[in-house]
């Protein structure tokens, strides 16, 4: 389709202060396109949580976005340790984040549950020791 927009971001895993930069840019792009505020906010929150995860769990990664008139798809790819138990990680309050991450305001075990809440589709493909690919889709209703 000719009217899709594709964006690509590399997320630096070494700098926590810069985590969220890509999400901020994606949010601005959606705003410029003029999507409904709820779609923009839900996408922004989900991608932001996922971007934070890339930094605190996976040492960085990549974010690919496809924006179509009726949906936004975001694919987050990392080469981190993988998720040992996805079902457990999806439970609110379950976290494997170290204490220093909690001191930064994250690692409350709300990341993945939040992402699920704010998206229409969420898929996690993870291989221990190799990495994780998370695909998120938000429809423009």
């Amino acid at each position: 389709m000719s009217d899709t927009i594709k964006l690509h971001y590399d997320v630096d895993g070494r700098d926590f202060t810069r985590a969220g930069e890509a999400s901020g840019k994606i949010k601005k792009t959606l705003k410029d396109i003029g999507f409904p505020p709820e779609v923009i906010r839900n996408t922004a929150i989900a991608v932001y949580e996922a971007e934070i995860n890339l930094v605190i769990h996976a040492g960085g990664g990549e974010i690919d976005v496809e924006i179509a008139p009726d949906y936004v798809e975001v694919i987050l790819t990392d080469h981190g340790p993988g998720i040992e138990n996805v079902e457990l990680a999806m439970q609110e309050g379950y976290s494997t984040a170290p204490d220093q991450v909690r001191a930064l305001g994250f690692g409350a075990g709300m990341g993945l549950p939040n992402i699920k809440k704010y998206t229409d589709e969420m898929k996690i493909d993870t291989v221990l020791g190799e990495g994780t690919v998370m695909t998120l889709k938000i429809y423009v209703k």
Binding site: T17, A19, R41, Y48, R102, G105, F106, A108, K117
Partner: protein
């Protein structure tokens, strides 16, 4: 409640955003855990926090929040102020503690007003 009124009742100092003093705030959220803040969408909310790092401003940005109040005398650094400028989010700071600040705002009519998308 306007940002300027929040400033007055919390005896707060304006760190950034003089042009936003008339902005209307309808709900509030107090937390040092940004993941918890991200779990509940509020309309036109003010964020009260004792956490000082750029992710506080990022969280407010993603949530379309209208104002951030740093409690317990915490001060945002220059990078955070720049990020707030970029996103048009006024920053206040107060010496009052979290519980007291939340109580004062509640007393003045602000409520949680949170909902989660299902």
């Amino acid at each position: 409640m306007k940002v300027s009124e929040i400033m007055k009742v919390l005896d707060a100092e304006l760190v950034y955003g003089e042009e936003f003093l008339d902005r209307e705030v309808q709900s509030a959220c107090g937390s040092d855990m940004m993941s918890d803040v991200l779990a509940y969408v509020k309309e036109q909310a003010v964020l009260l926090t004792g956490l000082v790092n750029p992710q506080v401003v990022r969280t407010a940005e993603m949530m379309d929040m209208k104002c951030i109040v740093f409690v317990r005398g915490k001060s945002p650094d220059l990078g955070m102020i720049e990020l707030a400028e970029e996103n048009g989010i006024p920053l206040l700071k107060t010496k009052r503690e979290m519980f007291t600040s939340c109580g004062i705002l509640y007393e003045n009519g602000l409520r949680g007003g949170a909902h989660r998308p299902e």
